[in-house]
Symmetry: C2
Subunit: 467 residues, 2 copies
């Protein structure tokens, strides 16, 4: 990679104009640090192009000069993929000014949006046309749809609708040489060549910059029943998932696991939250069904008879449903109050979750006695966040010094179980070394070959991802 | 490409043994012709490996010798992608002896199968575990799951479950140098690098040979209501789709359009078929809802009130539902009785279908007066088969001589409407030239770069697909 010269930076400024860039340290500052402070970088310039053509000319200039370019969405990523290198030789680009809905086709159930729209704005644009865009995650008010696609975001509705990858019909991408691939097709079926769309989705900005997308829309749900159920074990939670799917088919919209330790953290630290049930249980499941309350009741009644559920409540109003979801959503904030934590984002086949969690927590407790594992998340997808809080009596720094061995326990066991060490958060900077422990040589080489085929100069988000 | 020498062929025989190959012309014959006779090829040897290791060693030998290799599934493809070249320099490989279920995990709703299983056998294996594998298409008794994945097969349930691409969690692939990529992961979420799986799905055997796959399973449907409805226009059929989706959400399992000309062909040529309705209508819609009959009735009642449906029948038993589906399924056979036809497989956004069909049929009728367009198919996905029968008084050969100009009308209009000229049947040999009229230079180049990155010697299914 070359260092950007003053002449090169002037060329970029001439493309985007005065409003399309900044070199002001105060403006740059929030873009140069991952939001929890784990990764920091530098850049000579922040570019805010307004059109695909401007993005194209910026990337062409970087290509000509051999200067690295880092695309950043809403800067909510958890692996640092959106942060430029510390050396300050890479230009930073964000599409927040490319935030228009280009078109909505309610009959086709599709919508063309620019990459800089926040996920919330995308959801709202769909709702204005009486349609649903189902991607939903904690950062939705801040993250951008371009970043969601570049990282193949997950969230709470994957069990029903799949990852971000499943929600996109077409893409517009600025390639690493500045040319534009116009793949903005609103087609449910198109078998004319290699699947380019899925190459860019999830590539973390290492193969090109997604500037716009055709998104799938869905009918809005006529009714959602939210259930909070006590289950005696993770085995029972898995059995409840199958029991429910068998009865309601695709009506399972979300299916989240919470251990009692999670409920305890939330009710201790988040004002206004309480245990929705009369009893204390080792585990709870929070799930949404797009089904009438009567069907949710019959699911729970039969689960109570089977003993896979010991108690449950069904929200009988949207506000009560939201109160139940607030327990789940405020868990990361609640856990912050307990000092340092080491977090993970693993997936295994749903059937392997109980044995996996038991063994991982056992080994971590053996390594760090009195540490406090809180294992929660998207049970319906086999994706759990195994977040370990430090022992009450241990200093943060001493605990965080154990990060690598804790990671290795969690990741080695996931790998042995055929799982993934990054289910929804990607590789970024954070897992770039770690992933090399687990990927086969063949798979690493395939990643590298594709990276080299599409970005032979290596200017797209250098040092991120696998390839 | 090199010609295979006797020594090279001996090397292949030593890998697969006596039962794993054939050079008998009678055995080879059915593998060397596309089933309608449109494409014919030659080969010095048919290989029938029994294990992934044998496939790996075969491909490594081809790679070393620079000999082309053609993978063939059930030989039901419609674009000739499975037929070797006429020169006879390519070896032909089929995985019909690799037809085992490796494992089924009903709790995880996943199943590992070898590529040579027929689609029907896969469906049956899922059913034995009280699960559904929803891919369904006319050739399901013969086609192989490996071919379905290599071509990203569609069929009648795409509106609910997506293409074959959406139904696979992981793959095992023998790469063009003979190494094996073990991507047999049963994960709903895995963001660790470039999406390799989707690169191989739909690549028509040009990037590697799929030897096994992890498939997604689903709950079996508790009830299916089949509806046959008369609609006054294609606009009304599109409106009925939206009307139905709004009321039943994802319960639309299939949604097919038939013009009256199709019903007439079927009732004329297929014994035992009748118009299920009392009236003659310009168009009909045949659809399945995984919903109680009462819900199907309420959908139809409101559609009758709106005037988007003029008459309808709901099957009140599985056998009556099958009788309705027989009309749709026997249409290709029925049309054969009317002499030569020119067929297409296009998709456009659902909202654009009415205008597209009207204009395409108008231009074709202007080109060939008295020709008989029969436009039917998967309206729910925007995928129609525009199949034009010759005028009654025209000779087959004279009509087929018009294939190119007819194709150009149908494809040019689809392209102008943002559509695809091959929605579900792929490129193969048949559309390899035609696709170059429509793909941008950038998109063609991306296909070529990826092909070269993965198969630099060009031995995998030479002369097929886009790249």
């Amino acid at each position: 990679m070359s260092s950007p010269t003053p002449e090169f930076l002037s060329r970029l400024v001439s493309i985007v104009g005065a409003e399309g860039h900044s070199t002001d340290p105060e403006v740059l500052a929030p873009h140069l640090v991952e939001w929890r402070g784990r990764w920091r970088g530098n850049t000579p310039i922040l570019l805010l192009p307004k059109t695909t053509d401007e993005v194209s000319r910026i990337v062409a200039a970087c290509h000509d000069a051999g200067v690295g370019i880092v695309p950043q969405g809403g800067n909510t990523g958890l692996q640092g993929g959106q942060i430029p290198g510390a050396h300050g030789n890479e230009v930073l680009l964000t599409l927040s000014r490319m935030n228009r809905v280009r078109s909505v086709d309610p009959i086709d159930n599709s919508m063309v949006v620019e990459a800089g729209m926040t996920l919330l704005a995308v959801q709202q644009a769909a709702a204005e046309h009486d349609r649903l865009f189902p991607l939903s995650l904690g950062a939705e008010g801040t993250c951008q749809i371009g970043g969601n696609l570049a990282t193949n975001a997950g969230g709470i509705h994957v069990v029903r609708y799949g990852n971000a990858r499943s929600l996109v019909l077409g893409l517009e991408v600025v390639l690493p040489d500045g040319r534009v691939w116009d793949g903005l097709r609103a087609l449910r079926k198109d078998n004319t060549g290699i699947d380019l769309k899925n190459l860019f989705v999830g590539s973390e900005g290492t193969l090109g910059i997604i500037t716009a997308a055709v998104l799938k829309l869905f009918p809005r749900h006529r009714q959602v029943s939210t259930v909070f159920a006590a289950v005696p074990s993770i085995e029972a939670a898995v059995a409840l998932l199958g029991h429910t799917q068998h009865r309601v088919e695709d009506a399972v919209l979300a299916f989240e696991l919470l251990p009692h330790s999670a409920l305890e953290l939330v009710t201790r630290h988040i004002p206004g939250t309480v245990n929705p049930l009369g009893e204390v249980s080792p585990f709870y499941v929070l799930f949404d069904l797009t089904a009438p309350r009567a069907l949710a009741e019959s699911v729970i009644e039969s689960a109570l008879e089977n003993g896979i559920v010991t108690d449950a409540t069904i929200a009988d109003s949207p506000s009560k449903g939201q109160a139940l979801w607030r327990i789940r959503e405020s868990l990361p904030d609640a856990q912050k109050n307990e000092g340092a934590s080491i977090k993970h984002d693993v997936s295994v086949a749903v059937s392997r979750i109980p044995a996996y969690v038991a063994e991982a927590e056992k080994q971590i407790r053996a390594l760090i006695p009195d540490c406090r594992p809180v294992t929660f998340g998207h049970l319906g997808d086999g994706n759990l966040h195994l977040c370990v809080s430090r022992p009450v009596a241990m200093r943060d720094a001493d605990f965080l010094a154990m990060r690598d061995p804790v990671n290795h326990i969690v990741h080695d066991l996931a790998h042995e179980a055929g799982g993934s060490i990054s289910a929804e958060h990607g590789i970024g900077i954070g897992k770039r070394e770690e992933i090399r422990r687990y990927k086969s040589a063949v798979e690493l080489e395939l990643n590298t070959r594709i990276k080299q085929a599409l970005d032979p100069r290596g200017i797209m988000n250098p040092g991120k991802g696998v390839g």
